[in-house]
Symmetry: C2
Subunit: 159 residues, 2 copies
């Protein structure tokens, strides 16, 4: 477990190392991401959260920051088919090693904190000559009686 401040520092360093500038807006955005590590926030969500503490920030800046962080592989851009991109931090200890379970009733997303695809990636390489650099694995379905954690409260109000 690395502290928020340490992670922030490391992210800033990576940014500067690649020739980008470290700005207060970018720091504010990264801070929000650090505090919502696996919330799958949309750009608009991030924008609203950043705005609470930095009201002058513009939406376009948040979009550009998220784009930059994605480029630096510091955040992961996802797409659950609801028309908006979603963003999560990609911290050292869980680098694209997670999958998603998406509730088809309420849209709630939960993570599987594991990499179940190591074997399959080798198989892809072997059988198709395809070198995998990343993957995306989402399961769509429902939790048993929709009573699992976060999902519950949404599903109950949904139907």
């Amino acid at each position: 477990m690395i502290s928020v401040e340490e992670q922030l520092k490391s992210m800033k360093q990576q940014m500067i190392a690649k020739g980008y500038k470290s700005t207060v807006q970018r720091e504010a955005t990264m801070r929000v991401l650090l505090e919502h590590e696996r919330d799958h926030m949309s750009a608009e969500d991030v924008y609203m959260r950043v705005k609470e503490r930095f009201p002058e920030i513009g939406l376009a800046t948040v979009y550009r920051t998220l784009e930059l962080l994605t480029e630096l592989h510091l955040v992961e851009k996802m797409n659950f088919g609801d028309g908006v991109s979603r963003f999560d931090l990609r911290s050292k200890d869980r680098e694209h090693m997670h999958h998603h379970m998406i509730c088809s009733i309420c849209g709630e997303v939960e993570e599987i904190q594991d990499d179940w695809l190591i074997e399959l990636e080798q198989r892809v390489k072997r059988e198709y000559g395809f070198n995998v650099s990343d993957h995306r694995l989402d399961f769509i379905g429902t939790f048993s009686s929709c009573k699992h954690g976060e999902c519950r409260k949404h599903c109950e109000t949904a139907s």
Copy 2:
């Protein structure tokens, strides 16, 4: 291997069985999908192809038809993160039993005609109590020296 006409007939029947009408526009759209079974076309792509033979058709109709077919599980709506939804037929013999390899250089998509997730779906059920009804598995990467089939022509012109 079922003929295009037979598949079309079956699709129309399913449509009517659910109380929807069979129209020439819908038929034209389905015909295009049947002839491009695994091309991952965007709504715009489908629209242009349908328009060649049915110039009066409107874009909204194509969108509505694709939406309807998705609802009937006759087509699969996909999302490769490039801002557009893509649609493929979901014929009997390959019902959501395929995965994707997406070239990170040119964006070309190839399919793996197999279901590699049967075991993992059981594991999800067992370990998380999540009942999987569908899944999405995409690998992002490159083909060895980018010389594999379709990918080649795009990659060469890309860089």
